[in-house]
Every structure is written in structure tokens, then in C-alpha cells.
Subunit: 456 residues, 2 copies
């Protein structure tokens, strides 16, 4: 029952299939993309089957096309709160039965909530797949939402907020940086919710949310592992297929960003901060909102500028000048609406933060002015595609790439064509997106600083 | 068809009856508060009658308890757009007929939209009151909203946005400062709306808005002038009284602010800026959300700190140090939800903006540390109450005080008791609200600066 947001969000998307943030999880490749099946049940539930016969294991995921950015005004946190409620009892099973059934067969399971989707997953022996489907289909519609369950679990998420956010200056800062970067788009609201609104979430809110969004026609089933299309289809029809189609939802059109005209900064001083740090963020298009090639260019810009130890920022600031303990860049491309591009840094010892910030800005300016070399770009593409192909070799990563892409407006074809789209990016395109989007006068900077001061 | 927001908003509320911002409009007092009548028609329409027989003139206002902060997500600007539409044709009158009827008898009329209310007013010879009521009652329910009217008027408000906001760096900055100060409350959204959302407003949006909010039970009639309660009641029953009660609206509970933990800044550099300036804002309670005495203390703090030429800021920075061309403080107390307290300054000639900012901060710190003297406070109360009593002598100001107060959760009794509540404020209370709310680490600062620079 984790929630995804901010840096944490990028990390989580990294673990769960965001292109370009997967390098850490490399493995030996295999070429099983070819046999992927994609179909829709009569009740509108989308199904993706990713066969992988190397081990008798299966990853079973259900993705709902609803996240925190779909919440009604004043009800922040309901998406993540509801994800917790999905682990409670149903009309057919006691709370905990599902979890026990999984652990008894040595499987594992969890769920996560993000801005654009909520996903539930189990990794179990292949022969337990139909049982997983039966349990998952059951809780899609038969959850028992009484006041006692609501009150108890609400205390759990409130405590989760206290420990995860309110006790962590970095997390508090991230929340207010997001609320400042996003002037209109709902990504401004924290996935876990604002405390004063979480406290008010009630049974009616949960029931309305459940009835509106937890329907087969708003869900995507992703099965990766030692299975074949035919058997998955049969099992899916026997379980999920029995659920009646829900009311059609309107298109997911949310408030979007106005033109931004200002440079903003958000500063948090806290006695608990030992190492100061900063982040600089910009609003940029996502794979779903970008013009052709722009998102791919932003992915490669992040890779060249700050994607790990080979990146310009790391080489210049950590290895070269030795002024930073950490620095990098990230781009969260797999989002339904416009997303953010982030660079960050933390000074070494007594180095002034300002010096690190200026050096990071200088590296960006260098790309805006001089662009990148084709050799550098080709190396970045290789690293990047290789990392993703490796990632695709991991069962859960594959399932997550398909789930997150389909839940944010992408298609199976987009995933298939992605490597060639990356290969097609030119140095000029990388320079262009840097110049168009990483504009200092429209940046939002977050400062995390030690020892409180008046500051005024 | 003016809209109220930002500094402009404060100014407008000044013109239209915000306590404490009225000093400019002083006049000789008269004591006609006693005869004020307040009653409700059978269909739920609230009525306030403020007799004033010095001239055969009457001010007729209808206040709707809906403003931009009540707009649905993604529909910013609909409240103000709708105010424009109210000047179009009805099933009984051609567009323009109402305006002509007023100008023919030498009257004047207009309307304004704010965050919490929308108001329509006419000032005419007293014998024209019933005609005004008939026209106003007619457009409350009989507007003709066809696509042609919508399309034409939408172009008008889009042009209004271009000229009022997009061509004015100060207005652009204010918008983004508000979107930064307010992390959750709808006051973050500009009253005129975000361009990309205004462009999409359509006939259905307008019709829904009209049917939901333009009903007698969501309106307040305020009549000030050469009239008596009995005749106003008779006329109101003959006109407004004929309109059927609308569906009851839920309580106006909107998203409120989370705890704020950061100091934020918003910087706009623009070649059109000749004199640089800054503002510092804090989230503070309004008369409607404050604990007893706090709003009154904030009003007096604004008066002492920056309310005109006798204030500390003006005396220290403009008269004394001669480093500022302008400086002051303001508090917008008449709001439904939490509101903002603002201090601002602009340097003289080549004086660094930073120096003015530090001096303003020092004056605030001085009140936080040393408080204010009882003599200073008593003088401020006198100026303040006197200004309001003078203002109350102005027919339209009286009408506006009652309309804006009743539309933001206040009562007729609150207005009557307001002078004694102000008199009761102690120096300690003023010091306390300054210390509690004007905290540097939770301030949002806006900088308007000349000649664009990289800034990064």
C-alpha cells in the first residue's frame, strides 16, 4: 500500500517501469516482446498477456485508470485511502484471507497509487493465477465498506502521512514545491492527500469512488509469466468476465497549466536537515501530451545531463570539480498530462549550495547553447535502450511498463515502437527541448536548508 | 462588468465597502444606521433596506452568493463570464433595453464579480426603483443563452483578459503570486479565469451555472436611499417575490489551506517594468474564519503598519529614510474563507529593492517584538472607525458593506457591533496576530523587476 509522488514517485516509477530510470535493474536480455497479446473482454476490461516461460511464476496486475489527480475537490487522498480499503473484507472473503492465500504459496503482493493510476499486483506460482483472478475480481465489486473499516483505515493513512511526510522535511518541501510548480493541474495535490482533507474522508466518499472507478471497463489486467494467451483469456472470462460493465466514464480531461511567466522558489529551513540540497523543476510535456519526438528527446536530455555516473552533471560536479555529493536529472514521461523535468544537487561539505546551483545551471546552459555531440547522443541512446531492454526482461518490470503506459494514454504499439523512436532522436532535437523547456525565468526551485533563520 | 482580484481586488473592495480601506471616501456623517430593515421573502430572497432621505435617489443592488471560488474545476472564469451574460437579452427584453432605461433617467449601473460573490447595481431616481426591480428580477431567471450570445461575449472576456492581465506584468505577477500563496484554496485561481479554460466555456456551462446559482434563495437584495421598508417590501414581493425558489444549495464548503511550511518567492522580470516593486503575503483568517477579535486586530495591524500616510511604513520609509516611493499594508477581511495580509514597497530611484524589503521586514519585526503603544492603537481605532462611519454615510458604500458582509457569512448584527469590536482590541492582540501570522518562513514574496535576465 505504497503511494507514489515527488522524487519518491520518480523512484517508484523507476522500479515500476518508467522508461529510462531502469538502469539499476539490469539483467540478461531475452526477446519475448513478440508474443505479447492484447485484447478486451466483453465487459470492457482490457487484457495484456506477456508470456515468459523461464520460470513457473506469474505476475498478475490490475490497473485502474484512476489516481489522485482524478479526485474531487476537497477529497484529496481518497484514491490512496481507497487502495488501502481494497485490502479489507468482501462479501465473500474475510479481511486478510487474500493476503494469507498468497503468503501460504510463497507469493507476494502489494499495491500502489499514483497521480494517474492505482495498481494491485501479486507474484505467485503460475498454477495459482486463476485463484488470484478470483480474489482480485471479487474485491473489484464486493468490498464491504462499513464505518468501522473506514474509521480504522483512515487512522492508518493519517499515521502514514505523519510518518512519511510530516516527519520528513524533504517530503514536506516536495509537497509545497509541487503545489508551486503546478499552478492549475491536479498534480499539485499530494497523492497521499492534505491532512485536513484526509481527516474528513468518509464512507460515502469511499463508496462513491468505488462505484465510479472500480469497474471492469475502467481496469487493465496485465499478466506476465509462465502462461499463454488462451488460458489467460479463459480464466479472465470465468472471473473478471462475470462482472457487469460499469457506467461509461467521461474522458479524463483535467484542468491543465496556464502559460507560466515567473521564476519561483520554495524554501524550507529545518533543524533536522543535515545536508542541504536543491531541486529545479520545469513543466514539460509527457509522452501523452508531447509533439512527436519531444518526449523521447526529453528522456535523452535527462540521460545525458543527469542520468547516472556517466552523465555531464555527475562527471562535472562530483568527479571533476568535486563540489557535489549528489546531482542528477530526471524526466517523468509516463504521465497522462504535462509532467515535470527535474535537476537537483547537494553540495560537498562546506561548499556553498549556491556554487552547486550555478554549476548545474551552467551545464544546462551549455546544452542550450552548444547542444550535444552525436557521439554522446548515440552512447546515451545505447545505454538507455539497453537498460530498457534489460528491464523488459524482468517479468514485473514488463508488466509495469504495459500497465503504466496503457493507463496514461499510451498503446501497446507505442511500447513496441519506443526503441526506434528513441533511436531517431537527433542532437538538434535534444538541444531544442532543452532550449524550449529548461528556461530559468520559468523554473521552480526548491531549497532544503538546515538551521532555521528569520530569512526575512 | 468589472472583476475584482489581487491589489485591484483590494482596491475594488475599498470602493465597494471593505472595512478599513475606505478612508479615501470620507464625507460628513449622519446617523441613519438605526432604521435599517432586514427580512426574507417567502422564496428565500434576503432583503436589506437602508433608508436615507437626503436626496430622492436610490441604490438598488442584487448580490448572488457565488463567485469565482465556487466554479467547477477547469471552468475558471465562468462566474465573471456569466456576469457579462446578464447584460444580454431575456425572453421579455432585448439586450440593451435595461441599460437604456437607466441612462434615460440619468441613472448609472454596473456589476462586479469577486471570489465570493457577484453583484449587480443601479443608482437611479427613487421613483424608478420598482422598474429596476422588475428588470433585475426578469434577468434573474429569463436570460436567453444561445450560442451566438455565448460566442460573442466570450470573445469580449478573452479580450478583457488580454488587455487587463496579459498586457500588464504586475497583473501577471499577481496571478502567479496568488497561485503560489494559495496551495489549495480556490482563491488561487484568477477571478477572470485562466485563458485556456475561458476559451472552452460554452452554453452548457453557462446554463448550468445560471440554473444552479441565479435563484432568489441564493440572492440578497440591498436597497439604500430615499425609500422605506414597507414600500420596498411591497415592490420586492411584486417583482422578485414572483420567482419560484430554486433548489437548495449545499453549504459553501470549499477546499481549505493545508499547514504551510515554506517561504516562497515569485519573480517576474519584464522589459515593460520601469519601477521595481515587491509584495509579501501571508495566509490569515478572515472575519468569517477568525477567532473572536483576531480579524479586528488584523485590520488595526494593517492600519498601524501600512494604512496610509500616518502609518509606520510610510513614516519610516517614505518620510524618514526616503528609500521608498510607496509602501503600505492591507488586509482583505471580508472573505468567506481564509484570506491574505499584504505588505508592499517600491524603492526610490537607485535604492536597491532589497533595502526597502529589509526595512519593511524590520517594521514588522518591531511590532512582533515590541508591540504597539496604546496611544498609537487608540489613534488608529479612531481613524479607522471614523473612516468607516464616514463611508457608511455614502449610500452605495452602505449598500456594499451590507451586501459583501452578508455574502461572506456575516450578519447585520456583525456590522452593527463592528465599531465596538474594533474599540475592544488591545495592544497585546495586535502584537499577537503579527507574531502568529506574519512569519517570515511562511511568507510568499512577489518581485516585479525590470529588464529580463537569465536569473539562473
Amino acid at each position: 500500500m505504497i503511494f507514489a509522488q515527488n522524487r519518491f514517485f520518480v523512484l517508484l516509477l523507476g522500479l515500476f517501469g518508467l522508461f529510462g530510470v531502469l538502469s539499476a535493474h539490469a539483467d540478461t536480455p531475452s526477446g519475448n516482446e513478440a508474443k505479447i497479446a492484447h485484447f478486451t473482454l466483453e465487459n470492457g476490461m482490457e487484457v495484456v498477456v506477456i508470456p515468459d516461460h523461464r520460470a513457473p511464476i506469474v505476475t498478475h496486475m490490475v490497473w485502474y485508470k484512476v489516481g489522485s489527480a482524478d479526485e474531487p475537490p476537497g477529497k484529496s487522498g481518497i484514491a490512496h485511502f481507497f487502495e488501502h480499503l481494497m485490502f479489507k473484507g468482501t462479501t465473500n472473503h474475510q479481511a486478510g484471507e487474500f493476503d494469507r492465500a498468497i503468503s501460504e504459496i510463497g507469493g507476494n503482493n502489494n499495491a500502489f497509487t499514483s497521480y494517474d493510476y492505482t495498481a494491485y499486483f501479486e507474484t505467485v506460482p503460475a498454477d495459482a493465477l486463476e485463484t488470484m483472478m478470483a480474489f482480485e475480481a471479487d474485491r473489484m465489486r464486493n468490498l464491504v465498506l462499513d464505518d468501522e473499516v473506514i474509521t480504522t483505515e483512515r487512522d492508518v493513512v493519517l499515521e502514514e502521512r505523519r510518518s512519511r511526510i510530516d516527519n520528513d522535511p524533504g517530503a514536506l518541501l516536495n509537497e509545497e514545491v509541487n503545489a508551486t510548480l503546478w499552478q492549475n493541474q491536479p498534480y499539485r495535490i499530494p497523492v497521499i492527500g492534505w491532512m485536513q482533507e484526509m481527516e474528513q474522508l468518509n464512507r460515502t466518499d469511499a463508496q462513491d469512488f468505488y462505484d465510479r472507478y472500480y469497474t471492469p471497463n475502467n481496469a487493465i489486467l496485465v499478466v506476465a509469466g509462465d502462461v499463454d494467451e488462451k488460458s489467460v483469456k479463459e480464466m479472465a472470462e470465468k472471473t473478471y468476465g462475470k462482472i457487469a460493465r460499469g457506467p461509461d466514464l467521461p474522458p479524463r480531461k483535467r484542468p491543465v497549466e496556464p502559460e507560466q511567466n515567473t521564476r519561483r522558489s520554495v524554501t524550507l529551513r529545518d533543524a533536522r536537515v543535515s545536508v542541504p540540497g536543491f531541486s529545479v523543476q520545469w513543466v514539460v510535456p509527457s509522452y501523452n501530451t508531447a509533439k512527436p519526438g519531444e518526449a523521447e528527446a526529453l528522456d535523452l536530455l535527462a540521460e545525458i545531463l543527469g542520468g547516472g555516473v556517466r552523465s555531464r552533471l555527475y562527471q562535472e560536479l562530483v568527479v571533476g570539480k568535486q563540489i557535489a555529493v549528489g546531482t542528477g536529472a530526471s524526466y517523468s514521461g509516463t504521465m497522462l498530462d504535462d509532467t515535470s523535468f527535474t535537476v537537483y544537487g547537494a553540495p560537498v561539505g562546506q561548499t556553498p549550495l549556491d556554487e552547486v546551483e550555478k554549476s548545474v545551471a551552467a551545464e544546462i546552459a551549455r546544452i542550450v547553447d552548444e547542444g550535444v555531440s552525436s557521439d554522446e547522443l548515440e552512447k546515451a541512446k545505447k545505454r538507455f535502450i539497453r537498460a530498457t531492454i534489460f528491464a523488459r526482461d524482468r517479468q514485473s518490470a514488463m508488466a509495469n511498463i504495459f500497465g503504466s503506459t496503457l493507463a496514461t494514454g499510451g498503446s501497446v504499439d507505442d511500447i513496441a515502437k519506443w526503441p526506434e523512436h528513441i533511436s531517431a532522436v537527433t542532437p538538434e532535437q535534444v538541444k531544442q527541448v532543452a532550449a524550449r523547456y529548461l528556461v530559468p525565468s520559468r523554473a521552480t526551485i526548491g531549497y532544503l536548508l538546515p538551521q532555521p533563520e528569520s530569512g526575512n
